[in-house]
């Protein structure tokens, strides 16, 4: 009895030798994928842990997300944009923004932890630099060339595309997040939040597939060939998963919600992917932020809530941890245009059935002069350390370059 091929490479060799077209299927499910997954040595890890990262791009105004409504300083610093009405209290000092009802529900269920006042020393107020610091987990005075999740892949995944059929990481959006930059190449798959994944099957695609099947030898040609095949196969598989997915809850129409719906579909289909990255833009609220920030937080809360409900209904919730981050918080003092300028620390959310829930860390001190910045109380790398160590079971110290004190998150 012939043994099952163990790697993609072996598939290629065989199909080239036997003349059996690897990608000769047209539209039908790529059946060899199931085999390929089965043939992987460790077998499908049904209970593996998954991390979903939500980027709030532009710098989320933390003080208007989690409002210190008992603190007069808050209203002193924000005479016009400070929020008073319809707040959703968390305790006698802090309240959610009125748009965050769904997040509050999760908080009450113990499925949402709020890490307060997260930042880093010597904060940088440039979007790009501060995003880079967050995504590479570097200090503000040092430059790291790889992302924190990229280093996680370097430390855990095999790296070569032919070894593993499913992508190591998936991102929604055109450009690979800096968090994924790695020393070695990993299979990273990107797609848009809406629309078809990959190209429609057209006659040029059929020709392309035929060319992909010829023997390309070794080296870069083989690398290209395998990545192209993996991409085709993954595109088709993902398209099929997404179109066939039955969400157990209604997702709002926002880009973020649609992104998370796709993530839910892939998780439900038990892809071996451990890390997903989605992004919500628009948080750079320099002017007239009242309505726009409310809309953003409304979208965020509704999307996260739908995602969590859907995962729970599919019994995947104990496998998934979702965390938010933003490159910085905003200035405690409002500016002259009904908005806020770039600041420093802000709260972030960690969601999932396994989280301990509640408030973590200390709230910021608002006894500040006008236009001064918050002093962070929890270093963001403590969050990363906890996630890497406690959730992804990875060598956090190696990945982050030093040890950080874990937080009681999971």
């Amino acid at each position: 009895m012939p043994t099952l091929p163990l790697t993609r490479r072996e598939f290629i060799r065989r199909s080239a030798g036997g003349g059996l077209g690897l990608l000769a299927f047209t539209g039908a499910a790529p059946s060899f994928l199931a085999q390929s997954a089965l043939a992987q040595a460790p077998g499908p890890e049904k209970d593996r842990s998954i991390l979903v990262v939500i980027q709030l791009a532009g710098g989320n105004d933390g003080l208007n997300t989690l409002i210190p409504y008992s603190d007069d300083n808050y209203y002193r610093l924000r005479p016009t944009i400070g929020l008073k009405d319809d707040l959703i209290p968390v305790n006698e000092d802090l309240a959610f923004h009125p748009s965050c009802g769904p997040l509050h529900q999760l908080y009450d269920l113990g499925q949402l932890s709020i890490v307060q006042n997260v930042g880093y020393p010597n904060p940088n107020r440039s979007h790009f630099r501060s995003s880079e610091i967050w995504e590479t987990a570097s200090s503000s005075d040092a430059v790291q060339h790889t992302g924190w999740l990229g280093r996680y892949f370097d430390n855990t995944c095999s790296g070569t595309p032919q070894e593993n059929a499913d992508p190591a990481a998936v991102h929604l959006g055109d450009i690979i997040p800096q968090s994924f930059l790695a020393e070695r190449s990993h299979s990273v798959f990107g797609m848009n939040p809406r629309g078809r994944v990959g190209k429609r099957q057209d006659p040029a695609a059929a020709a392309y597939e035929k060319l992909l099947q010829v023997d390309h030898g070794a080296g870069s040609a083989s690398y290209l060939q395998h990545t192209m095949m993996d991409t085709l196969v993954t595109e088709r598989r993902v398209e099929q998963i997404i179109t066939g997915y039955k969400a157990m809850t209604g997702y709002p129409g926002s880009q973020l919600a649609q992104s998370l719906k796709r993530v839910a579909a892939l998780i439900h289909a038990e892809l071996e992917t451990r890390v997903y990255f989605v992004s919500q833009g628009g948080y750079d609220t320099h002017a007239n932020q009242h309505n726009s920030h409310a809309r953003l937080l409304g979208e965020l809360s509704a999307a996260m809530h739908a995602f969590q409900r859907d995962l729970t209904a599919h019994k995947k919730d104990d496998q998934v941890l979702t965390m938010t981050f933003s490159e910085f918080g905003r200035r405690p003092s409002e500016n002259g245009s009904g908005g806020t300028d770039h600041g420093t620390a802000a709260p972030l959310f960690v969601m999932g059935s396994p989280v301990k829930g509640g408030l973590i860390g200390n709230a910021p001190d608002l006894k500040l002069e006008s236009n001064k910045d918050l002093q962070f109380s929890t270093d963001f790398r403590r969050v990363y350390h906890t996630v890497l160590d406690r959730w992804l079971a990875a060598d956090a110290e190696k990945i982050l370059g030093s040890a950080y004190e874990p937080l009681p998150l999971v």
Partner: protein, 500 residues
């Protein structure tokens, strides 16, 4: 199909850098040279090259290049920028007005940056400029500066010009010029480096990324050198200025040599280190020859010759591209094209003008992973296989699809219509492949077409394997025009076309 890479045992170090013997200067050798030194090897260029020696061809590849011209709008912006910024900083009191004026200036600068990007692609696409601009890309990946940090188009333009002129310079002199460029001064914080509060950023990158590579200097060397680079400032935004009272004129010890060194002295000391002879050559090899490690003995041998020529870059280029090692069969057709080479090479191969739509072209480069002047970090792009992942592969395929799809002019937005109008006025409206252009090929037999296409577009390694597949696609076709179009698209999306 893939040959083992040469080692000193199989291919002598003495021979490695000798010029290629003329009797093996054939069509494939010429095509290899043209694809590596520039972006493509069209049959006309190959034919011309074969009438010359490799040496003459290499010199010629750079000889007819023009420097990129600064647009009038950018020159005007540059002339007024110092006064404009001063005014915002000093004269406008009202913070709202300050903000509004600053945004206005930023908008203007953004637009100028996009114009700069488009004009660079336009310029580099011209075959006579391609070798020069590819070398500029190489140097930009050494002297990394990014647009995100340096939001100042005239400064970025000026640095690029210094690099372009550097092609003929001695490398140490180029390092000195770059250390005086406002874009670099801002990017690596030289303007925050003072005797009282040294900033080590520039000194560190000078050693690590420009000249020696990691492990060839000590932290103490960095600290001492940082003091030598104090006092580097700009005035009127774009002019270098040495501010004596910020300079630390005391004694420093760098690489064991003590003296009251200034920045230029440190650069001279750096080039006395053994690692300076090999570091740039290693980077050059990664950029132009192969992803894989090349035995150190080869690099050292060339380094020695290079150092004896005062580290002259023209010497390095001419020696490298003529060499037997460069033409070694193991190094042919094994490099992943960068997004810039993929796209500009496509335009040259297909004789197309640049896509005139600013948004589409620049976004396309972003998604393929090589945003103009915006590398991911100070280390620059990593080249080779690092370009390739599912996102960038899909983006490359989409570029090809786009070039073979008809343009729906009615669906263009106002900006695109403006860009199209501008391109047509400049007689650059030919940016898509039409059905008629492919028609001529149909007069040939399928096997002939397959041979023609593979000879034209890809390196020899894959021709034998690709030809029967293409011929089969075209054989007995009820819709030959459509099938031919699909076959060409597929070929341009294939692994082989992504290599050079």
């Amino acid at each position: 199909m893939t040959l083992p890479a040469p080692t000193p045992a199989t291919f002598s170090v003495d021979d490695a850098w000798k010029p290629l013997p003329l009797h093996v200067w054939d069509q494939e050798a010429a095509a290899h040279l043209l694809r590596r030194i520039g972006f493509s090897a069209t049959p006309e260029r190959v034919a011309t090259a074969l009438k010359r020696t490799p040496e003459k061809e290499i010199i010629d590849a750079f000889a007819h290049a023009e420097p990129l011209k600064m647009s009038e709008a950018l020159a005007e912006y540059r002339d007024h920028a110092p006064a404009n910024h001063r005014m915002i900083q000093r004269d406008i009191r009202d913070p709202e007005q300050k903000r509004a004026r600053r945004n206005e200036l930023r908008e203007q600068e953004n637009e100028l940056f996009r114009d700069f990007a488009m004009s660079w692609f336009q310029h580099a696409r011209q075959p006579e400029n391609s070798a020069t601009e590819k070398f500029v890309l190489f140097l930009q990946d050494i002297f990394v500066v990014d647009r995100r940090t340096v939001r100042d188009t005239p400064a970025l333009f000026a640095l690029q010009q210094v690099l372009r002129a550097g092609i003929k310079a001695d490398y140490p002199e180029l390092c000195k010029s770059v250390s005086r460029e406002p874009a670099m001064i801002r990017y690596l914080n030289l303007d925050q480096n003072t005797a009282r509060k040294p900033n080590e950023n520039f000194a560190r990158e000078l050693f690590e990324l420009f000249t020696l590579g990691e492990g060839n200097y000590s932290e103490a060397d960095i600290k001492e050198s940082a003091r030598a680079f104090t006092g580097y400032r700009t005035r009127q935004r774009y002019e270098f200025y040495f501010q004596r009272n910020l300079h630390d004129s005391r004694q420093k010890t760098v690489f064991g040599e003590s003296g009251t060194w200034r920045g230029d002295d440190v650069i001279d000391l750096t080039f006395q280190q053994a690692a300076a002879r090999t570091f740039l050559i290693g980077e050059f090899i990664k950029f132009y020859l192969t992803d894989e490690t090349v035995p150190e003995a080869y690099i050292e041998a060339l380094g020695e010759q290079w150092a004896a020529r005062r580290f002259n870059l023209a010497y390095l280029i001419e020696t490298f591209f003529q060499s037997r090692l460069f033409f070694h069969p193991a190094y042919r057709g094994n490099m992943v094209k960068s997004p810039v080479q993929f796209y500009l090479g496509l335009c040259q191969d297909l004789r197309l003008d640049l896509i005139p739509f600013e948004g589409r072209l620049l976004k396309g480069m972003d998604v393929m992973g090589q945003s103009f002047y915006n590398p991911p970090n100070v280390r620059g792009w990593l080249y080779g296989e690092h370009w390739i992942n599912s996102t960038t592969i899909s983006a490359r395929r989409q570029v090809v699809d786009y070039l073979f799809s008809p343009l729906n002019e009615k669906s263009l937005n106002a900006n695109d219509q403006r860009d199209l109008e501008k391109a047509r006025q400049a007689e650059r409206g030919n940016f898509l492949i039409t059905a008629e252009q492919l028609q001529v090929l149909l007069e040939m037999e399928p096997a002939r077409i397959a041979e023609h296409l593979t000879t034209y577009f890809i390196t020899p390694h894959f021709r034998a394997a690709y030809q029967p597949v293409l011929a089969e696609l075209l054989a007995d076709s009820p819709t030959p025009a459509a099938d031919l179009r699909h076959a060409v698209i597929a070929l341009l999306q294939s692994p082989a076309y992504n290599l050079c």
